[in-house]
Symmetry: C2
Subunit: 636 residues, 2 copies
Amino acid sequence: MKNKIHSVSLKQTRCEDKFWSPYQKKVVDTVIPYQQRILNDEIPGAEKSHALANFRIAAGMEEGEFYGMVFQDSDVAKWLEAAAYSLWVHPDPELEKSADEVIDIIAKAQQEDGYLDSYFTIKEPEHRWKNLLEGHELYCMGHMMEAACGYYEVTGKKKILEVAENMADCIASVFHEGHYGIPGHEEVEVGLMRLYQLTGEEKYSKLAAYFIENRGKQKDFFHREKENRDFEIFGMDPDYLEYNQSHAPVREQKSAEGHAVRAVYLYRAMADLAAATEDESLKQACEVLMDNILQKKMYLTGAIGSSGEWESFSKDYDLPPDRAYAETCAQIGLVFFAKSMLELEPKGKYADIIERCIYNSTISGMQLDGKHFFYVNPLETNPGLSGEVFGMKHVLPERPGWYACACCPPNLARMILSIGKYCWSESEDTIYAHLMIGQKAELDHANIAVETEYPWKGEVKYILTPKTEEAFTLAVHVPGYVSEKSLTITINGEAAGYQIKDGYAYICRTWGAGDVVQMSFPMEIRKMYGTVRCRDTVGCVGLMRGPIVYCIEGVDNGLQLQALILPRDSKIEEHKETEGALAGTVTLTMNALREADSAELYSVNAPERTPVTMKAVPYYIWGNRGLGQMRVWIRE
Amino acid sequence: MKNKIHSVSLKQTRCEDKFWSPYQKKVVDTVIPYQQRILNDEIPGAEKSHALANFRIAAGMEEGEFYGMVFQDSDVAKWLEAAAYSLWVHPDPELEKSADEVIDIIAKAQQEDGYLDSYFTIKEPEHRWKNLLEGHELYCMGHMMEAACGYYEVTGKKKILEVAENMADCIASVFHEGHYGIPGHEEVEVGLMRLYQLTGEEKYSKLAAYFIENRGKQKDFFHREKENRDFEIFGMDPDYLEYNQSHAPVREQKSAEGHAVRAVYLYRAMADLAAATEDESLKQACEVLMDNILQKKMYLTGAIGSSGEWESFSKDYDLPPDRAYAETCAQIGLVFFAKSMLELEPKGKYADIIERCIYNSTISGMQLDGKHFFYVNPLETNPGLSGEVFGMKHVLPERPGWYACACCPPNLARMILSIGKYCWSESEDTIYAHLMIGQKAELDHANIAVETEYPWKGEVKYILTPKTEEAFTLAVHVPGYVSEKSLTITINGEAAGYQIKDGYAYICRTWGAGDVVQMSFPMEIRKMYGTVRCRDTVGCVGLMRGPIVYCIEGVDNGLQLQALILPRDSKIEEHKETEGALAGTVTLTMNALREADSAELYSVNAPERTPVTMKAVPYYIWGNRGLGQMRVWIRE
């Protein structure tokens, strides 16, 4: 691959977008400070975190016992990464000072040899690396590497980066071809690949490769590990190999299996490694896994990991809307994986899945107040059943407050704050524009201002200020739902010459300052049908407009949403909302039929149908207007 | 109630029915001997039972350890009860000898004071009565009382009845107003009421009343019990009070809650007690509970206990077809409960639910070979998902062999063999004919020969030989699905005068020998619609003909049954099967539409529909022709 594609730094982008800027402001103003107070145990009534205290104790700065989950350290790492991006989005000397103080504590908690894990350091130093299945040491360190790269990228401060590098060296001293080991929860592979991408040091990509390539090579590893240790953390089954994707070497895995977050973190690192090493067969392994997800294991909203057991992928086409797990973090991980795939090969389907996730099943995890979060992102909720009956206990009909296991909120925070990064890749001769998000970007070939009202309008302007007089290509992602013939691309108001390939419009020319590329396409409402292989969606339609998936809610449509039917010929009208929680969104109204309620459990009489008006709202905003039913799939 | 209704003895009926006699023969020829060998650990490869060995050890007849579930004794009791009925259906001196030998062992295992429980006698005699939540002593003894009554009724031999009476006295010596206690699994209440019905001894109904009335009176009982004991059996949660219906006094319970088998056993005993004591408010409590089941918690097949967790009732209208628990024993218990309700007040709805259960969700538990059984009777199975994915692990797509916990097969055996009992009740002036099952019955007022090809034909003849010259009433149940105007009742070929009340046609006259009452009604195929309150059945129809619920199976209809649609105007044709597993049944064929398969997970194109022929077969016979999908609810 002589014309290698690379990602851009967050610092090359400055988001100014009607959709995303308010989300970023919410995260900066609310989520980051709130989580900071959580980590410091300053929120009265909130479940004790103790995460920073753990580091202070490990650092010898105070006395005490470890408290929390074995992976409590990762809360601090994720916050630090999100805080770094927050400092870019909205510089804040006080936040930076707090972050520096946190880094000081972390650095002090790091052991002589580079080891960093407050749980084992405080509680069981003799058990270091002895329970890779459950211990989460590598997981926590991986997150710390990500935080370090992010913090260094934004602030230029090296302290936490050095901590990360020392950690990596420590890990390398333990795990090498003479000593087999793989983590029970993948993430260190991601952290190491980020270290590699930032520093160019191959020792990091090689260590990542060690963990990636060894996975599934010794299938009895966790079993033997358990036999050889005399302590437990969770009591996990060491033989449920699919759970952590160790059931086969990664190149032999043909379907996405097991814990969804673990899976997509692994796949992302695999894609990053394949890009770094130009490894064609590893790339193909990634493609097979991604295709299995996209073609057989993904909800309409982009959500993955449908099984309510083990937060895992289920079998192909088993996508129950009302019992979905669909963890926010899994979708975020899928965004990361898809972005890495784009840098292996720019295919529209990867940008499409990023769109599908970021506009639907990721941000659905956060209440508009920034203080309540879902892990689980179902496509149907039924108060009275959801959260209560067998098979639905994990499906909450309302977002609760911060969790004791706080993985999703900071993960969402970092995705939202770094959204600019996902918009671009560059190669020697091409700028790839993956997403339509308003911003100012300073890329290698050009500065580009992006103006758009996407996802509500099918229009985007790229205003270029080239940095070179040589011709280069702007490759603009054309969403998969846009037909070629409905697409218009102009340059400076005149029809542009372009070539469509794999979901991207390639425009090659010598650019002048102020050149405006405008892409327009109609925003049509689409009725989506699931394949009949999905038992749960037959006879139903899902509504989409652009990348937005819609749902119907009780607050607009009354009780028993399952009684509502959308006739195939019903005309759907759009409405731009201006007030309340829905302000700024496009909602849909349509003629529908409602089947009559009946107290008779079974009857020979088909329920009568009466015409009603039905309103659908963007899925991501559901549950912001009180408790009620919600459904994405509407009977047709 | 001066004109009290009473049940009839099995010995008053002699089944000669085209539908039931082959089932009885299967049970006599296969199930009873097979279970006998299981109990004696004579089946190579089958899971060890040890149930009779436990009794022998407790009796001091051999050395050894207790083996099996804490309620292993009940396997012997249920077998003995079924064997008793088998001796009536098909006298067999060898079986009777074996049963007598079993009884000898049981009698020897009974302790001086009447206590009988091999688990506690062998393992933990000091823990007698100390773990009523989990110990199942009263449950096992209740089943032994039922067996005793059955065996005495059929054989006239008193030995096991005396064992039962001694047990009851032992229980009464422990549980009385000075000492609170209720069993964690109801059943002793049923056994005691049967003892009362057989012997007329009020001490038994009073002891039953003690257990029934005390239930839910001390809500902390199981909690305190657990605190005061130092041993566990299962580690059950003592505070999940709904599980064993101890969340409220029984008269205050308004909905069926908790473990479905426990619940209906309790309700049956309540109904029996209400009948015995003419207790109007207890009768009303039974009616409220039955109505909750019939109106909100019952599958189309009559199955109950929909939750895959704790084998329990779920919330109202939560009746998922593919995740049903619907334990065979729960439906059998519902048959018993409904029969007891009929003796409180002859209402057609109770006979209807008996019909619905006996022709559908009870016998569905048994393979036609009599050697494979379901606990769980789902209304939809999907091989590859059923039994494998979250929420469906308990739903098997094929009947396995005998279970280690063998509650359902002998329960089904006793129901099938004693089916004649459920056909009749009598009062001072009325014979109630609840079911249409071919037989010769010797009732108090008359001998009646019943001739019918029900459930396949809507025609039944009652040929009476009265035993009295005084007028009396024959009250014939008219199935709830038969309209009054389509009903014809003749006497000796001429239109009869009758009055319909609450689902029964009352014919009062002075009867002559050989009088023939003939009831006829059209057997129409009914499309059944669930209320829209059930999320799982909206947009679907279930097919019924007479009491028979139909399903579609993969063997007849190919893959992806969820792709099949039955148009509302489709004409359904009947076909009398003559060959193979379906021989003798009426199957249905109809024009349907099949939606095209698609490898595309989500598409803007609705699947195309092509006409196909669809075949539906009786639900109870599903799974007898190889592994495939099955669905009761068909998309309309």
